[in-house]
């Protein structure tokens, strides 16, 4: 049924209107007593409209046009939303809804500038709507700049280290944007316009050199936002110093805009076959292989950097970078299974990463610190936050009961079926690293000895624990029945022009070994039930004792002895892989900075030269000599 609207406005216009209204209203009334709930309401409305649009798209509407048209200096800008855009839009509005719900309660009241946080969150949603529904390359670039600057506004509000991290982010984002600008200019040069269809038309007669530059510029430009390896240094500090709920939003969705744009440009516009055609002459290495290996390195290296972090937020954001590598790798396998796995991982990642970040900020809200060496034993004081974090880390590590496992399984399976062993081994090794670091996270915060000063801590308020638990619930439900999420992914996959993956509610049926999560999770829960039965029936009733009634080699434990093992949690591993962290990328980045400084000094010196007349004479003679020689420059 076409979405009936009061007047000729399409649902996309309605969504844009809601987002714009939200930005203005929340900036004005953010800190009012009911400001938080107003925000949740507005974002909820946006989510509802998005879901309605989804139903529309599922009912066969190819794309939802927007009546927003702009012709500037001979360029027509139009905005339409197709399946791919809608998939990411669903994540954006969902993430905004949950983070505003989190901010609505006690957490929002404690913040100094809740008004700015609400405003920037709504602004981010508005800019993302514009980016996701861009109708042509120029619209894409404008949307891209809007999103980058909205994220910058969100990051800089915390002050202190956040400004430094935001400034560094802005430099990377702008470099990426300029690469993208160059790319659309190259397209304009070849195709004579910025439209998507003009680009597709001009593709066949583009020279391979131009195709390579286009591929490099698109991958580089969007890779910066996705924090692919050489350009990943900015993301961890930038996303962790942003205050609470906005950090959750950024982590869950903001980096995925890069993936959306990468899919749009490389897969939808250029297409897998042309990319496959692009080979390095002698070696037979395709362009997608290079990007796949960059994704593989992005999967492994940041995960093992996350392992060494001592700040909970940094650990999670470093994992965000690693998980981005999984999504890209899944999509680059180019088979229906791989692409579905990659896209499903985007959805799954958004759910469990948001739950994790919200949980960590709930801990910060109560204890005041996120330093893993200052916490411990909070399971008795904050059980609900513990449950949310536990389900989150099971998802992040990709273990069965949660949805993270399904998408990772599909990616491993796609890599094995397409006979790419080294990439699949990299994926497995990435998962192993994740398991180690997530256990360190949950152990150092919730398990082990409870500190004396944390003895009176209360559970985080309902307004904070409820969103977390709902997100973790979504993770479990889509883990139990991945078919639900896969049907959402189908929209995006269809829009990408890749064949759909046949799937049922429980998972995937393949000749080379299928997965039915209904059985896997069902049996697991049943078996744990049997375990519980055995536990309660056999053996006497349990007697719960306190943490100091512990074996310590005959020693009497007491509150003033700090015996919680949390600092340097994996000493053996640190001794082996410690020397492997040589920080090449950090030194490279520092080198770039120094290069800019030195060349700045050079030109600064040129302008301060006192003896200008002599200097001009020399230049004039040179000019004449050149002119006299009739050497034509250029032409």
């Amino acid at each position: 049924m076409p979405f009936a609207l009061p007047f000729d406005m399409t649902s996309l216009d309605l969504l844009m209107a809601i987002a714009a209204a939200a930005t203005v209203l929340l900036y004005l009334f953010g800190t009012a007593r009911l400001g938080g709930y107003l925000a949740t309401l507005l974002h909820g409305a946006a989510l509802a409209v998005t879901v309605a649009m989804g139903l529309d798209l599922a009912a066969g509407a190819g794309a939802i046009p927007s009546s927003l048209r702009l012709t500037v200096l001979g360029q027509q800008l139009a905005w339409t939303l197709d399946g791919l855009g809608w998939f990411f839009l669903l994540l954006t509005t969902g993430a905004a809804f949950f983070s505003s719900w989190y901010m609505a309660g006690e957490w929002g009241r404690v913040q100094q500038r809740a008004r700015i946080q609400h405003g920037t969150l709504a602004l981010n949603v508005l800019t993302m709507v514009l980016l996701l529904s861009a109708g042509d390359l120029l619209g894409l670039f404008i949307g891209w700049e809007f999103v980058s600057w909205a994220a910058f506004a969100m990051m800089i509000q915390a002050g202190g280290p956040a400004t430094q991290a935001a400034y560094r982010y802005m430099l990377y984002a702008l470099a990426g944007a300029m690469a993208l600008f160059a790319a659309i200019l190259v397209v304009h040069g070849a195709a004579g316009g910025f439209g998507f269809d003009q680009m597709r038309a001009a593709l066949p007669d583009m020279s391979t050199g131009m195709l390579w530059t286009l591929f490099a510029l698109f991958a580089g430009g969007f890779g910066v936002k996705m924090a692919l390896v050489p350009t990943h240094l900015w993301q961890a500090p930038a996303y962790s110093y942003t205050p609470g709920a906005s950090s959750a939003f950024l982590n869950a969705v903001s980096a995925r805009m890069g993936l959306f744009a990468l899919i749009l440009s490389l897969v939808k516009l250029i297409g897998f076959d042309t990319l496959a055609g692009l080979r390095i002459p002698m070696t037979g290495i395709e362009s997608t292989d290079i990007l796949a290996w960059v994704a593989a390195i992005t999967m492994v290296v940041p995960t093992y950097i996350a392992l060494m972090q001592t700040d909970a937020r940094m650990l999670l954001t470093w994992h965000g970078i690693g998980q981005g590598g999984y999504m890209l790798l899944g999509i680059l396998v180019a088979t229906p299974l791989g692409v579905a796995g990659g896209l499903l991982h985007v959805f799954n990642y958004a759910t469990y990463q948001m739950a994790l970040i919200l949980a960590v900020f709930a801990v910060i809200h109560r204890t005041g610190t996120a330093d893993l060496d200052e916490l411990g034993g909070l399971i008795t004081r904050m059980p609900l936050t513990y449950v949310a974090l536990l389900m989150g880390i099971i998802g992040l590590a990709g273990l069965p009961p949660m949805n993270g496992f399904v998408s990772k399984w599909m990616i491993y399976k796609a890599l094995i079926v397409t006979q790419q062993p080294l990439l699949s081994i990299a994926a497995f090794v990435g998962t192993l690293g994740t398991i180690l670091s997530v256990y360190k996270l949950i152990h150092n915060i919730f398990l082990g000895q409870l500190r004396v000063e944390h003895r009176e801590i209360r559970e985080a308020p309902w307004s904070m624990t409820l969103p977390m638990l709902v997100l973790a619930g979504i993770g479990f439900v889509t883990g139990f029945a991945p078919g639900l999420a896969l049907s959402i992914v189908d929209q995006a996959q269809a829009a990408m022009g890749v064949a759909l993956l046949p799937h049922h509610l429980g998972g995937v049926v393949l000749a080379t070994g299928s997965l039915n999560m209904l059985w896997v999770v069902g049996v697991l829960v049943g078996a744990i039930g049997v375990g519980a039965l055995i536990f309660y029936v056999l053996g006497n009733r349990r007697f719960e004792t306190h943490q100091y009634d512990n074996y310590a080699g005959g020693h009497f434990l007491s509150a003033d002895i700090r015996y919680h093992f949390s600092h340097e949690f994996y000493p053996g591993l640190a001794r082996v892989i410690g020397p492997w962290y040589r920080g090449w990328v950090v030194r490279m980045e520092h080198g770039l900075g120094v290069l800019a400084e030195v060349s700045g000094d050079l030109w600064h010196g040129v302008f301060r030269a006192a003896y200008t007349p002599l200097y001009v004479l020399i230049v004039a003679v040179l000019g004449l000599f050149w002119a006299g020689g009739a050497g034509g420059f250029g032409s």
């Binding site: 430099l171 300029m178 600064h604």
Partner: protein, 487 residues
Amino acid sequence: MTLTAHHVVLPVALPLLVAFLLPLVGRLSDGLARLLAQLTTLAVAVIALLLWPAASDGGALVSAMGGFAAPIGIVFYADKLALMFVVALAVGLLLFRPRREHDSTKVQTLWLLLLAGGSGLVLSGDLFNIFVFYEITAVATYGLGASAHTGAGYGASLRYLLLSALGSAFALLGIALVYAAAGTLNLADLSQLAGERLTGPMGLTAFVLMVLGFGVKAELFPVNTWVPEVYTAAPTRVTAVLAGVVSKLAMVVILRLLVLLFQDPAALGFLLLLGAIGVAAGELAAFRSRDLHRTFAYSSIAQLGLMAVAFSIPGHAGVLAGIAVALHHLVVKPAFFVLADRWRGEIAGLTGAGRTSPLAAGLFVLLSLSIIGIPPLPGFWAKLMLFKAAIDAGGAGNLTAVAIILAATVIEAAYLFRVVGILYGTAPAGRPPLRFTLGELAPGLLLGAVLIAATVSVAPLGDGLTAMAADSADAAAYASRVLPGGN
């Protein structure tokens, strides 16, 4: 009352007349002299505006001095482009009239001389006439540059005088070469003869000399070493006008030369080279500088380099891009200098200034975003025009220029947002808060409002500019309007 072609000369003649009257009036009372100067500036602005409808329908107003015919006669050619810049100059001078402590009748006379020279530079259709008005503006700039009565001011102006004199010598040599080759100095006439007379090494040498000559004021690469010193030492309001408007007038002259006289690619390539190096040099030096004035001076060098790159692209697309960048810079740079007036000295000393005067900091962010070229602000559309023109023109030189400009944008964003970071930092307790009075900030806010208005009405503005660019890039139309019967 409608103004005819004969009134074209008024914007030049009136200020000259009043400029020489001022010392006499000044003897009676300073207030009166200042009022008279401002009235004449206003009059010039009104006249230029009134000329606008006449120019727009006929394409341009041509008035030959004393009725002499082409080869000898001095012609004034007022098309929409020229009139726009005259209006901009007049309004700029009105908006940024010198402050109480720097003001005196002598400064007012220089102010009017600058107005006369500037409008003459843009309006005149004769090469030597352009040189004369160029000298007048140069002299006015020396005087105004030193009007801050500081040692640094005198030194900077002296060095600028030396450089400018050398430049003028080159320009004169170039004009002489052109006269020797073509026998006439009337631009329209020359544009007819350029085809066979001004090609080859002789034409090219003339072009190089003239570009280096006029380049001094247009802040082109080799000859713009005076810019940082003068802009820092001169009173900020003078710098605002110099950087904002006057440097563009010289660039328009170079545009005229390119469009009318020198169409061959060697000349365009030379200007492209200067422009590209100018952009790179400007941005990198700005990245290094620690003082806000000096940063904006280098930034204006870079923007002028952008204009040079734009004009070096043949066809009306290039001219359109150049004009768009020029207009955008004309609005943004003076506003920057208004901010720099209060936030003087080391940038590091400004920590926390954003918190004490949020309006100024907000303005700074808006202006930075526009000059970097972030959509939807006009800066972005100007750069987009430039890049589109360069890509459509093709050629290795243009592509490298585009690459350099893209890289320069990142550096530009780096140093501008470094300042933003410092502005919003937490101020150390001891420092007194730098607070803006509304009076000081008014011109800046006005220009900010103009910028936002331009953002909103970017489509109609774009069409207007396209028409103007098409007209001013058309050498044949120029000649047909100036030469009767167009021989």
